[in-house]
Each structure stands twice: as structure tokens, then as C-alpha cells.
């Protein structure tokens, strides 16, 4: 017995700790946080479990208005898309009379383009060629005929995959020459998480809350100049329509940003996943690609741009499919080779996701059997979202202590909340960000799950929360009323 013990002690098995510890792992991982699924969501899931187990609470269900998950909140999928995808998955259904001809033709067309005529085969790493061609044509139609080369289209597993891939490519250098990436505050926390993982330098530029979260070039300039002292700024990220802010940038603003990026030699990353979600009167989506080319060759020949889109948002809401693409413009040809190589490491994006994307960029046309239903479904979804955006803004603005900018687009509201100093103090004692403290209490008392503004970034001394406008209208009204009640009682409690 003792001999064995000695042997083990010699081998160090008894004395040494783990090989993989917090100290030996990739140090960048420590800084990765993603508020949308962070601690408040963990607690929400726990509460749901407790409710299931019969624990008594002041509410009967947790309403999760934290994540932009349309279908989870009751939005219906588009029938045409699901029918075609079902047929692609199980082609025997092509014999079934239940399905209209255009659905069948579309399924056949997609299967023909897949290796082995199956969704189950690997596709080319950049994506199925037919789909990339269809995406290119979609972009051309959207942008008034400005040419789009399918070779510049990369199909990806949602926009997140594309964004992370581009950032990986863009980040290099060490110390003062480490790549700096400009992102809006507030921002969608995928960006900050990705920058943390890549150990890039995050350069914050503030959107103007007083002016409906618009972007001011002078603020971009301020942020850039300050950053130049300690890093090498190379990238400018913009989300339009905005997340969490919901603002839709004006045409002038898009031009200003392009001009700024060109002058300052920055790579532009345009996250346009909410491009169909535009609600407010007088607002319109202007794609960065379109504006770039309309500004003439001085800009369109030179500015390096990557635009991102996805099947997860807009009227499709198919988050679970992981469909998306990016279009790269003016990328150095040698870099493009490297990009193509980089995406090949994970082999290929989900083929059903690519198939879905094909349908999104190539929906039913007038005259086709599925057209009527498709248009009805799409319009309905977008109209309801528009109504909810308006309702949300109106109700929240009625609450003393809550101010809400118009929800011009996207799927969220990001109102500012006034917190009494006593509440702020208590939060600080608990080591919590004050708006996290607020949101946690809202969750415990009313069963509503929101994401605190601190997860997205905000000006010092201001507090916000992000709420989705996705729950069905009646439920959303209940949520808004509960938030109203809570805010009033919270303010009283801590006055």
C-alpha cells in the first residue's frame, strides 16, 4: 500500500491541482461577458424552475423580455419558408398534394444545388453557390441596381458568426499598436464580448440620447483621437437599425459615417440585421453599401466595408436556424484569400440555415400560389411590431422617472430610468450595478426579465434597461403596466 502511495506522490498526482485552471486558461476568457444571457437570465431560469415546483411567487410566470427571440414570444413563422424547408429535409413530401407547386419547385431548386441533393451534406465553406448568387441579386434589388458580386458574399451561422470572423481577421498588433475597434455606446454585447475574447482595444463612441440616439461625427472624432494615444484604431462598427437603441440612422448620418471612415482610414462594419424592422414615420433603412456607391468612386473604390444580415430578425425571426451572410466590399484580395481559409476551418455553416436564407432573399412573387399568404403574414408581423413599438414608447413615457426615445426600428426599447440615490447606494453596497439591482428586483417582484443597461454600456451616471417589444400585444401591455407599477413603488421605497 505504501509503495503505491509513494509512486503516486512521486508522480505528483496527489499534490498537483488541475492542468486547466483559471490561471492557465486563455486569460482573455475572463473578460468575456454577454449580458443578454447573463446572471439575470440565470436567475430567471431558476425562478421558472421554482414556479414549476410549486413555490409561491407574486406572479405565475416569468416573462422573458430580455432576448430578441421572436418565435419564443409567439411570433408565427412564415408558412412558405417552413413548407419549403420541410420538403428539403424529407423530399418524399414532394409527392404530397398538400403542398403548393411553388413550394415544391423551390425545394427542388435548393436540393439540386446541395451536394448529394441533401441538406445533410457539407457545403462549400463560403456557402452554397446558388444561395450566394441569390443573395447577391437580393442586394442588387435592394440597393437600386448597384452591382453585387457573389464572390464577395460569405454565408455564415447567423450574423454573430460573421462578425466574430471579421473581428478575428482585423485584430492584431501589440501594446500601443494593438487594434482598436470603435463601437457605439450603447452596443449589442456580442461586440464587447468578442473584443474581450480577442484582446482587442474597445473604443467607445457615445450615441446622443437627447437626439434620439443619433450619431454625431464630432463624437466619433473625439473618441478616435483619444484612442490613438494607446492603440491603433482600425475598425468602426455601427448597428443600423440600432440595438438596443432602436434608432434608424438618417441618410445624412450614413454618409457622414462613410466620409469619416474614409478620411480616417477605418474598416467599416455595418450590422444591418434589423433592416426590415423600420416603424417610425419618416424613417427609412439606407444600406451602407448603397450610400457608399451613391457617394461616387472617390469613396466606393476605396472604403473597406463588411455588411451583415441574418435570418434571425425582421419578419422571419428564425433564430434557431442560424442563417446569415456578410458582404465584403473592397477587401484586399490577399486578405480575402485568408478570410476564405479562415471560414473553412469550421467546415461550413448549417445547410438548412443556408436554405432558409435563400428563401428570405428570394420570397414568393406576385402570381405564385404562396404569394398571398406570404404577403399577409409578413405585413401582419411587421405591422404588429410597429404598433407595439408605438405603444411601448407611449406607456413608458407616461411614467415619471422613465424617459423613452421613440422606437424607430429593431425590436427593443432602451428607456432611461431615474434611480433614487438610496437605491444606488444600496446597489453599490451589494457590489451590483444600480440598474442590475433594479432589474433583479423587478424580476423577483413582478416576474419580468429585462437586461440592465450596464450590459450594453451607457453614459456614466445614467441607468437604463433593454426590453424587447416581442411579447404578444396583450402580454406586452401587462408587462408595461407592471414595469410602471414597479417603477413607482421602487421610487417610493427608496426615496
Amino acid at each position: 500500500m505504501s509503495i503505491i502511495v509513494c509512486e503516486m506522490a512521486e508522480n505528483g498526482l496527489l499534490h498537483h491541482g488541475k492542468v486547466l485552471t483559471v490561471d492557465t486558461m486563455n486569460p482573455n476568457v475572463k473578460r468575456v461577458e454577454y449580458a443578454v444571457r447573463g446572471p439575470i437570465v440565470q436567475r430567471a431560469l431558476q425562478i421558472e424552475k421554482e414556479l414549476k415546483e410549486g413555490v409561491k411567487k407574486p406572479f405565475t410566470e416569468v416573462i422573458k423580455a430580455n432576448i430578441g427571440d421572436c418565435h419564443a414570444m409567439g411570433q408565427k413563422p412564415i408558412t412558405f419558408f417552413r413548407q419549403v424547408l420541410a420538403l428539403c429535409s424529407y423530399p418524399e413530401l414532394l409527392e404530397d398534394n398538400k403542398f403548393p407547386e411553388d413550394v415544391k419547385n423551390r425545394a427542388r431548386r435548393i436540393l439540386q444545388a446541395c451536394a448529394g441533393r441533401s441538406l445533410g451534406a457539407y457545403s462549400a465553406s463560403q456557402g452554397i453557390e446558388l444561395v450566394r448568387r441569390d443573395v447577391a441579386q437580393y442586394i442588387e434589388r435592394r440597393d437600386g441596381g448597384i452591382p453585387c458580386n457573389p464572390d464577395n458574399i460569405y454565408l455564415t451561422a447567423g450574423a454573430s458568426d460573421a462578425i466574430m470572423t471579421m473581428l478575428k481577421l482585423l485584430v492584431s498588433g501589440e501594446g500601443p499598436s494593438r487594434t482598436g475597434v470603435m463601437i457605439s455606446i450603447p452596443q449589442y454585447p456580442l461586440y464587447s464580448a468578442a473584443l474581450a475574447e480577442l484582446a482587442a482595444v474597445q473604443i467607445n463612441y457615445y450615441l446622443d440620447e437627447e437626439k434620439c440616439w443619433s450619431l454625431d461625427v464630432s463624437e466619433l472624432r473625439r473618441a478616435l483621437e483619444a484612442a490613438r494615444k494607446h492603440c491603433r484604431p482600425r475598425v468602426l462598427c455601427i448597428i443600423n437599425p440600432g440595438n438596443p437603441t432602436g434608432q434608424v440612422q438618417s441618410r445624412q448620418c450614413v454618409e457622414d459615417v462613410i466620409q469619416f471612415a474614409a478620411e480616417e482610414n477605418l474598416f467599416l462594419m455595418a450590422d444591418e440585421v434589423y433592416q426590415d424592422n423600420v416603424y417610425a414615420e419618416g424613417c427609412q433603412f439606407h444600406s451602407f453599401k448603397k450610400v457608399l456607391f451613391e457617394m461616387g468612386p472617390e469613396y466606393s473604390d476605396k472604403l473597406e466595408l463588411a455588411s451583415f444580415h441574418s435570418t434571425s430578425k425582421c419578419y422571419m425571426g428564425e433564430c434557431g436556424f442560424r442563417g446569415g451572410y456578410m458582404e465584403v466590399v473592397n477587401l484586399d484580395p490577399e486578405v480575402k484569400v485568408q478570410l476564405t481559409k479562415l471560414v473553412s476551418v469550421r467546415l461550413c455553416p448549417s445547410v438548412p440555415g443556408q436554405a432558409l436564407l435563400d428563401l428570405v432573399v428570394n420570397p414568393p412573387q406576385p402570381g405564385e400560389p404562396s404569394y398571398g399568404t406570404f404577403i399577409k403574414e409578413r405585413s401582419h408581423t411587421l405591422e404588429v411590431l410597429a404598433e407595439k413599438a408605438k405603444m411601448t414608447q407611449e406607456i413608458l413615457n407616461q411614467v415619471p422617472g422613465i424617459t423613452c426615445n421613440p422606437v424607430q426600428g429593431a425590436m427593443y426599447t432602451f428607456p432611461q430610468i431615474q434611480l433614487p440615490p438610496k437605491a444606488i447606494a444600496e446597489a453599490k453596497e451589494k457590489g451590483q450595478a444600480p440598474d442590475m439591482f433594479y432589474c433583479m428586483k423587478l424580476l423577483e417582484e413582478k416576474g419580468i426579465c429585462l437586461v440592465p443597461g450596464s450590459g450594453f454600456g451607457q453614459r456614466d451616471g445614467t441607468y437604463h434597461f433593454r426590453m424587447t417589444i416581442l411579447p404578444p400585444t396583450e402580454k406586452l401591455k401587462i408587462v408595461l403596466d407592471k414595469v410602471k407599477e414597479f417603477h413607482q413603488s421602487f421610487t417610493e421605497q427608496y426615496s
Partner: protein, 420 residues
């Protein structure tokens, strides 16, 4: 490559995508039941899945592992991935320190399939090659592991041992004793074990069985079973189910520091958003139709057919290859590849040098140009200096395999005549 998908899987997927199909009797009862169960779990396949995977699927996978190993598997230690490659990439993100004076080293077999090497480079890890022993059928030699490890310690911090079983491209299936040796080595030298087991369901018998690293580790008892840190990878892309396009797999983590897991979750959240459709297919792989259920007969039949096809292809390939002068091939115990050795003449090698190409690359290029047959050269996978190989895929219908072999045969005979 022409092999058909499994009907049950596809029927379940179709029903989950378009739930109206559940309203009539066109689909078998067990298909509808499974689809309904999964839809209840995830609501809609258009929804984001929970962080580490849909709960029901995690449970199915843990039960699958439990049945396979005879040892209880905890669903909390299972993470659903977007395919094993993606899982590997994300795990490397967790493990690898790519900056500073000492970069993380990862022991990697030679030969090894290409994507893993790319993943290492992409993450900034240092690849530390260890040569598999061709003469003994591509076995893992501890002596060689030790040599590689000690050589590496000078210029990096070797922390991870990556092993593929069944091997790709080697086709070797490790014996239990070999696995135990590797585990002991990892324990002694303090290495994190990454076990890539995606071909576990494709083993051709002949006295060789698949043993999972998890199982052997558990059976070795303390101090190994409660100390050695292990990540095992599996996928729906291989095996009879073969759904590569759906991009789903899983990894099982053993003995990971709980503090590390806290951080790992954030990393997984932003990197792993696995298509729901794929998770459904994974559920079917882990929990297939059972005897007595309506879909069982067809499911079992097709699985057997696929397996017989593969076995036939292995047999025919070995017959043809070993019958050709200048080609030798080690026994193919598992996986879907043949990795044959080309004993090229001096003339051929000289010719390749003149063309500034590696000799096996030239061989494959000519094979492609002359016979329109695509095989991968050994130089892509790594090999001992002065040796040459080709890798061919065997997962194809029997007629296609015959065609492939005939083309290879006639090409090879002409080639060795051209370069005697």
C-alpha cells in the same frame, strides 16, 4: 457522397419544421410522437436554444453515453456543439494562451486531418507533432509521445494532448491497453486530454472494439478517474446518421475545474449557437427508434445496409491496393478512410522535384487530371520524412467504390510504367 439519409431522422425534422404535418397520418406514429416531444421542449425550432443545448437532447445524449460506457454520464457536463470542429475550436479558445513568452503547445498526431491543424493555427497554439507508428498499423507509441513532449518544452508550454480514435486518416482503433497507457501518460505529464471520437460508431470488428476514453478513464479508478481532465467529442456528421450539413455534435467534459466552467459558459454562449434542427437530429442519433416501434424496421435495415456497404468498401479497397505494386496499406479498423502508402520510385520523386511539387501531391494531381479521381495527398496530413501517402474516402455506394478503385488501379499501373 451518395449515401442516403436515415428516413426517421428526416421525417422528424420535417415534422418539427412544419408542424402541420403532425395533424394527419402521413407520418408514422413514432415520428409524430418524437416531433411533438421535441417541439414541446423547444417551443419552435425558430427559437434560440438554451445555452449548452436543449435539455431533452442533453438528457438523451447523456443516456446514450451511459448505455455506451456502462458508466453514468451527467447531462450538466455535456455541451452541444455546432459540429465537432466547432466544439474543438471553442475548447481551444478556452485552453490556449497565444500571447506572451510561452504559448500553449498542443500534441497532435501525424498524420492528422487538415481542419484540426488549421484550428490550432487560427487559435495561435503551437502544434507539437507526435508520429503514429505506421509499421504497427498506426499505433500510438508512448515513447514517441514522450520524445515529442520533451522536445517541445523548450519552446512552448505543452498542455494539451489531442488524440483521434478511431484515427483520421489512419483508420486505427486503439486497444484498451493503448488507451490506458495514454491516460497514464497524460496524468504523469499533466496534460489535458482531447479525445476526438467522431468515428466511434464505425468500427469493423476483427477483434477490435471501440472503447471511449471516458469509459477507460473511469475503469482505471482513482487517482486517474477523478483527476485527468478530459474533453471527448462526437458528432452527427459521421456514422450511419451522416448529417454533416446540419452541423451538430457534442462534447463531454470530465474533471474540469468548476471555476473554469463558470468562465467557459460565457465563452460558449457567444460562440455556440447551435441550430435547433441539428439538435433534433442529435436527439435521434442518441435515442434512435427501438424494436417494436413503427420506424424501427426501416431504420435498422438502412443502418445495416450502410455498414455492410462500408465493410465491403474497406475489403475491396484493401484487396485492390495491396494487389498493386508500390502500394501498401495498413489494416483499416475503423473510420471511413484508407490511408495508403505510396512507394514511389526515384524517377517519380525526381520528376516531382523538377515540377516543384511534393511527390504525393503530384501523384494526386495527375490522378485528378488523368482519371478525374480526387484523393488527398499524404503531405496534407503530415507524414514521416521521405514517405508518401494518399487518403481516399470509403463512404460511398459500392458501385462508386468499384469505379474509384478501377480508376486508381489503371492510373497507378500507368504511373509506375511512366516512372519505373
Amino acid at each position: 457522397m451518395g449515401l442516403k439519409p436515415l428516413t426517421f431522422v428526416r421525417q422528424v425534422l420535417a415534422a418539427c419544421i412544419y408542424p402541420s404535418l403532425l395533424l394527419d397520418d402521413s407520418l408514422p406514429h413514432d415520428v409524430r410522437k418524437r416531433a411533438q416531444c421535441l417541439l414541446e421542449e423547444c417551443g419552435s425550432i425558430g427559437s434560440y436554444a438554451p445555452m449548452t443545448g436543449i435539455r431533452k437532447v442533453l438528457l438523451s445524449v447523456s443516456e446514450f453515453i451511459t448505455r455506451r460506457d456502462g458508466i453514468v454520464s451527467n447531462p450538466d457536463n455535456i455541451i452541444i456543439t455546432s459540429g465537432s470542429q466547432h466544439g474543438i475550436i471553442v475548447l481551444l479558445k478556452l485552453l490556449v494562451q497565444s500571447e506572451g513568452s510561452v504559448r500553449t503547445g498542443v500534441l497532435i498526431p501525424v498524420p492528422c486531418y487538415i481542419s484540426f491543424k488549421k484550428a490550432l493555427t487560427a487559435q495561435g497554439a503551437v502544434a507539437v507533432p507526435y508520429y503514429l507508428c505506421e509499421e504497427e498499423g498506426w499505433t500510438v507509441q508512448i515513447k514517441e509521445l514522450r520524445r515529442a513532449l520533451h522536445a517541445a518544452r523548450g519552446h512552448c508550454n505543452p498542455m494539451v494532448l489531442y488524440i483521434i480514435n478511431p484515427g483520421n486518416p489512419s483508420g486505427h482503433v486503439q486497444s484498451k491497453a493503448s488507451i490506458e497507457e495514454v491516460i497514464r501518460f497524460a496524468a504523469e505529464e499533466r496534460l489535458f486530454l482531447m479525445a476526438d471520437e467522431v468515428y466511434q460508431s464505425i468500427v469493423y470488428g476483427n477483434g477490435r472494439e471501440f472503447y471511449s476514453y471516458k469509459k477507460v478513464l473511469s475503469e482505471m479508478g482513482s487517482p486517474y478517474s477523478n483527476n485527468v481532465e478530459l474533453a471527448s467529442f462526437h458528432t452527427i456528421s459521421k456514422g450511419a446518421i451522416g448529417e454533416c450539413g446540419l452541423r451538430t455534435g457534442y462534447m463531454e467534459l470530465v474533471n474540469i475545474d468548476p471555476e473554469v466552467m463558470q468562465y467557459a459558459y460565457s465563452l460558449f454562449t457567444i460562440n455556440l449557437n447551435v441550430p435547433v434542427i441539428g439538435q433534433i437530429a442529435l436527439d435521434v442519433m442518441a435515442d434512435p427508434p427501438q424494436p417494436g416501434q413503427p420506424s424501427y424496421a426501416l431504420y435498422a435495415q438502412v443502418r445495416v445496409e450502410i455498414f455492410l456497404t462500408l465493410m465491403n468498401n474497406v475489403q475491396r479497397t484493401l484487396e485492390v491496393l495491396t494487389g498493386l505494386p508500390g502500394i501498401t496499406c495498413q489494416p483499416i479498423m475503423g473510420g471511413v478512410f484508407a490511408f495508403a502508402r505510396l512507394h514511389l520510385s526515384e524517377a517519380a520523386i525526381k520528376h516531382a522535384k523538377e515540377k516543384k511539387l511534393k511527390p504525393d501531391f503530384l501523384y494526386c494531381l495527375r490522378l485528378l487530371e488523368d482519371m478525374r479521381l480526387f484523393a488527398s495527398p499524404g503531405c496534407d496530413f503530415g507524414q514521416e520524412e521521405g514517405t508518401y501517402h494518399i487518403r481516399m474516402c470509403l463512404a460511398t455506394p459500392e458501385e462508386t467504390m468499384e469505379d474509384v478503385l478501377q480508376r486508381l488501379k489503371s492510373f497507378h499501373l500507368r504511373f509506375i510504367k511512366e516512372f519505373p
